[in-house]
C-alpha cells in the first residue's frame, strides 16, 4: 500500500496558540484513517492545511507523489483531493442536480464555454446522475438546495465529491446531524467507498469511527498523541485520559 497523502511535520500557530504542532500523518490507498480529538484540538486547522485553505508555517504536504504545500485549494482539488465540509458548502439557489453537475464541471475544468447549455451536457449529466444515485439522492434531483433537509445536504456533499473522481477524500464530520439511521447508512457507504479512494475522516461519532477506521490518529492541543489501529487506540492510556475517558463518563 502506498501513501496517497503524506503530511510531513507541519506546524501552524495563531499568535501564541499552536493549532498544529509538528503533525505528521499519512493516508494509504484502500484505508480509512480517522482523525479524532476533542473540540478545539486543531482538526479543522489541519484539514484546512491539507485542503489548501491555510498555509502551514513549516513542514510540507505531499499528495500523489507531489509536493502540494504551495498550491492553492482549487489546484489541489484538480489533483484529486475531494472534500466534504463540516458545514455544508453548496450553491443554495441551484438544484441538487445542478450542484452535482457543477462538481463534474469543476473536475472537467473546461469552464470557458459560453454557448451550450450546461444542463444539456450529456457527459456531465451522466457523471452527476450516477453520483446522486450512489448516495441515494436521485429522487431529489430537481429540488433547490435551500429546500432540502440537513441530512440530504450531507449526502449531496458526498455526491459532489464523487463527481470529482478523487484520488483521496477529506471528510470533515460527514455524520454530523445525520441521526442514527442516517449515520448508519453513511457508514456502510463509506466502507465501500474506501476501495475506490482512501478517506481521511474527521468524525465525532465514535461508533462510526470505530466501525470504519483502519487507523485512528488522536489530536489533542495541536499534537498527535497517539496513532494506531482501533484496538490500539481503545487501550491506549494517554487517549483514555485525554479524550475517550471524558466521553465515557458522560
Amino acid at each position: 500500500m502506498t501513501d496517497i497523502l503524506d503530511v510531513r511535520a507541519i506546524s501552524k500557530s495563531f499568535g501564541a496558540l499552536k493549532a498544529s504542532d509538528n503533525i505528521s500523518l499519512s493516508l494509504k490507498s484502500g484505508e480509512i484513517h480517522a482523525l479524532i480529538g476533542p473540540n478545539g484540538a486543531g482538526k479543522s486547522t489541519l484539514i484546512n492545511q491539507i485542503a489548501g485553505g491555510l498555509k502551514p508555517d513549516s513542514g510540507s504536504v505531499h499528495f500523489a507523489g507531489q509536493d502540494i504545500t504551495s498550491l492553492a485549494a482549487p489546484a489541489r482539488a484538480r489533483l484529486g483531493l475531494g472534500r466534504t465540509f463540516q458545514i455544508s458548502q453548496l450553491a443554495p439557489e441551484m438544484t441538487v442536480l445542478q450542484n452535482t453537475v457543477f462538481g463534474a464541471l469543476g473536475s472537467d475544468g473546461r469552464v470557458s464555454r459560453f454557448w451550450h447549455p450546461v444542463m444539456k451536457d450529456k457527459p456531465l449529466l451522466e457523471i452527476a446522475r450516477s453520483a446522486l444515485e450512489r448516495v441515494g439522492l436521485a429522487h431529489r434531483s430537481g429540488e433547490r438546495v435551500s429546500e432540502i433537509s440537513h441530512g440530504e445536504r450531507r449526502q449531496l456533499e458526498v455526491a459532489v465529491a464523487l463527481t470529482q473522481k478523487p484520488k483521496a477524500f477529506l471528510m470533515d464530520e460527514p455524520m454530523a446531524g445525520l441521526g442514527h439511521g442516517g449515520s448508519e447508512r453513511l457508514t456502510g457507504f463509506l466502507r465501500d467507498l474506501k476501495q475506490e479512494a482512501p478517506i481521511l475522516l474527521v468524525e465525532h461519532d465514535m461508533d462510526a469511527v470505530f466501525a470504519l477506521a483502519d487507523r485512528i490518529s488522536v489530536l489533542v492541543y495541536g499534537r498527535i498523541i497517539a496513532s494506531g489501529t482501533p484496538t490500539d487506540i481503545r487501550s491506549n492510556p494517554l487517549v483514555r485520559e485525554a479524550y475517550l475517558g471524558d466521553e465515557g463518563e458522560t
Binding site: 485542503a51 489548501g52 492553492a72 485549494a73 482549487p74 489546484a75 482539488a77 484538480r78 472534500r83 465540509f85 458548502q89 453548496l90 450553491a91 443554495p92 439557489e93 441551484m94 438544484t95 445542478q98 450542484n99 453537475v101 457543477f102 462538481g103 464541471l105 469543476g106 473536475s107 475544468g109 473546461r110 469552464v111 470557458s112 464555454r113 459560453f114 454557448w115 451550450h116 447549455p117 450546461v118 444542463m119 451536457d121 433547490r144 435551500s146 459532489v160 470529482q164
Partner: protein, 327 residues
Amino acid sequence: MIKETDLNTAIWLLFLGVPLAAWQMGEIYTITLATKICVLALAGVGLNIALGLGGMVSLGHAAFFGIGGYAMGILASHAQSYAPIMETPFLIEGTKSMPVIWVLAIIMSGIAALAIGALSLRTNGAYFIMITLAFGQMIYFFAISWPAYGGEDGLSIYVRNDFPGLNTLVPIQFFALCFAILTAVIFLSSRLEHSRFGMALQATRQNETRTQAVGLTPYKIRLIAFVISGMICGLAGAVSADLNRFVSPTMLSWHTSGEIMIFVILGGTGRLFAPLVGAAIYIMLEHFLGGVSDYWQIFLGLLLLMVVLFAPGGVIGLLTKREAAHD
C-alpha cells in the same frame, strides 16, 4: 403567477409594439424615448452579468460606458474634421461607420475592464465597491482634464454615424437598430447564463468555498465575467453617444454607474429582462414626473426603497412571485 419566460416575451413585444405604433401616429418623441430606454437597458444587461450573475457590486461601470462613448466621439470627431487621429508611425483616421466604432468601443472598454477588474477583484465586499468607484472617478477626471477632446464640455457630433443599409437619422430606423442590438445581447446573455461559464459564475456568487473545492479559481471566472460585462457597457456607451450625438465626462461619472445599477435593481437583479424593465421605469418617471417637479428623483428614491425592502426580486420578481432568479 406569470411564468418568467412569458413575461419576458410580453415585455419584448411591448417594447417593439409601442414605438411601431408611435411611428404610425407620427409620435417621434416616443420613439426617441424608446431608443433611449433600449440603449440604457443595454448597459444594464452588461452590468447584470457582473452584478446579477457574479455578485460583483461595481460602482465603476460608467467607466466602460464612457470609454465606449468617447471611442465613438473621438473617431467621429476626427472624421468630421478630416484630421487623422495620428500620422506617425502609421496613419489612423477617424470613421463614421457604426460597426467599426462599435468594435473599437468594445475592444477599448474590454481592455479597461481587464485592467480595472484584475486589480479590483483582488478585494471584495465594500472594498470592491470603493475601488471600482475610485477607478471610475480617475477616468472621469482624466476626461475632464483632457482638452484635446473637449474637456469638461465634451464633444458634439453633428451628423449621426452611418450603418450600412440604414438611414440612421430616421428615428424609427435608428430605434430598430438599437432594439436589434439589445435583443441580440439579451439573447447572448441568456446563453451565457445557462452555459458552463454561467453556472461557474453563479456558483462563485453563491458559494466561493464550494467553487474552490471543485477545482475552479473564482478570481479567473469573475475577471472574465467583468470583462464581458465591461465590453457590453462599452457598446452601450458608443450607441448612446450616437443617440445623443454628444459625449461628455458626465457619461463617466459615478452617477451614471449608480443609474445603471438602479435599472438592474428595479427590474430584478439577475433577471434577464430586468435592465429593460428598470430602464423603462426610470425613463418614464423622468419623463412624466420630471415635467411636474425638478425633484422627481425623490419619487425614484421612494420606489427604489420599496423595491429593496418589499420586493428583492424587483418588478419582475414581483410579477413572477419567485424571489431567487435562475433555474
